[in-house]
């Protein structure tokens, strides 16, 4: 397996540690080099495009990163790419992937060549909602696990699950859930309410069911990043105890790390709790000037920056 240092050396100065975020676990977390690409928010090329900011060199920087990964692939180096959500920004792209594909053909084509795992984010959650009844998710997953010897060691989620209005373990999440239920019950009371109210009803449902009412990206001061860490720390503990709806028992769980994005604030911390050491990696973002990436190799982990 390519070590973190080997990877940095191969990148020839293009990839550096971000803010010194580097840790080493006592035991292996992955069996292959794992590269996590956080929030990309691809949308149409125009002034509001916060991927390119109207600067083709920003797109070129991402292409150089993908070229580097393609070169690793050609060297037959074993690695896994996980895009941790918000690759498309469907909120800003009129709810459609079509024109994003036209604008970013190179990026999307190259990423697909790397056969990544696509975790769904709150900005591209429509991909799993459009055809929910037909179980068409366009290859997107809610969460993903890395396993070693049949035991899951790392959980990957986008991170919106920890948001104020979604976190079911907080009072805010409880209120959010109850509002969602009431919204749902309205359709039970009158099945035609969606037809009667039309797009207004869609908006109400979407606001509570799909979209985060707040995101830490838009309102960073209103958010405590420690809340995200606390959420994932609790989640790891709960899952290790088998308290999950993912049809996996505690025998299959040895979770020691959570990887997420969403906040656009990279961070890597270790937290001892109940005799274990847990690792929490917020990969940051590629957009907003971040161009950050999460790297895990064996027992090593780091947040790096490209370019």
């Amino acid at each position: 397996m390519l070590s973190l240092d080997d990877l940095l050396n191969k990148a020839k100065g293009q990839m550096q540690l971000f803010k010194g975020f580097r840790l080493q676990a006592k035991t292996q977390l992955t069996e292959a080099l794992t590269i996590c690409i956080p929030d990309m928010h691809l949308l149409e090329k125009r002034q509001t495009d916060d991927f390119c900011y109207g600067h083709p060199e920003y797109e070129e920087r991402f292409l150089e990163f993908l070229d580097f990964l393609m070169a690793l692939k050609q060297e037959h180096i074993d690695f896994e790419v996980i895009q941790v959500g918000d690759m498309y920004d469907l909120w800003q792209a009129k709810g459609n992937t079509n024109l994003i594909e036209a604008a970013y053909t190179n990026i999307l084509g190259l990423i697909a060549e790397l056969k990544p795992v696509y975790v769904v984010g709150n900005h591209d959650i429509d991909l799993v909602k459009w055809y929910e009844t037909q179980k068409e998710t366009f290859g997107r997953v809610w969460r993903y696990y890395t396993s070693i010897n049949g035991k899951k060691t790392i959980i990957y989620e986008h991170g919106f699950q920890a948001d104020f209005a979604n976190n079911q373990s907080s009072w805010a999440g409880t209120i959010g859930r109850e509002v969602t239920r009431i919204v749902g019950m309205m359709e039970y009371v009158n099945p035609d309410i969606d037809i009667i109210l039309g797009s207004i009803w869609d908006g109400v449902s979407a606001a509570f069911n799909k979209y985060n009412v707040f995101t830490p990206v838009k309102d960073p001061e209103g958010f405590d990043l420690n809340e995200y860490q606390r959420y994932y720390l609790d989640l790891l503990e709960q899952y290790n105890e088998g308290k999950t709806l993912d049809h996996v028992g505690p025998d299959e769980m040895d979770l020691r790390m959570a990887v997420f994005g969403h906040t656009h604030n990279a961070k890597l911390v270790q937290m001892p709790q109940n005799g274990r050491i847990y690792y929490l990696m917020d990969c940051g973002s590629w957009v907003d000037g971040g161009h950050e990436i999460g790297i895990i190799s064996g027992n090593e982990m780091a947040v790096c920056q490209w370019g």
Partner: protein
């Protein structure tokens, strides 16, 4: 409480943002359309039969062949079918969208 207040005050804007129209799938859009797929060599009779008499029949340009003409229609919808195609550009793998099919449609 601050968040709850913000939630309530921002809700109308959130709802407005989340009601952006979705254009539907291709098959949904084509439900009320009659479409003719373009391919090289399609008979003009088929075009005329599908869309009626053309709205524009320009004169031939000087020096051109009288038997080669252009005809235009108003109020037709054109669908270009695209797919991503891998190419090599200066030794790097790149992708371009190419058109592999064209359909011209009118409302039924």
């Amino acid at each position: 409480m601050r968040r709850l207040f913000l939630l309530c005050s921002l809700l109308p804007f959130i709802i407005a943002c989340t009601t952006l129209s979705n254009s539907g799938t291709l098959s949904q859009q084509k439900e009320n359309l009659y479409c003719l797929e373009y391919s090289n060599g399609v008979l003009w009779e088929q075009v005329q039969s599908a869309f009626g008499d053309p709205a524009f029949s320009p004169k031939p340009e000087p020096g051109t062949n009288l038997s080669q003409n252009a005809r235009g229609y108003k109020n037709l919808r054109v669908y270009f079918y695209t797919k991503s195609q891998k190419i090599e550009e200066e030794g790097k793998t790149r992708f371009k969208e190419v058109v592999y099919k064209v359909e011209i449609c009118r409302e039924k």
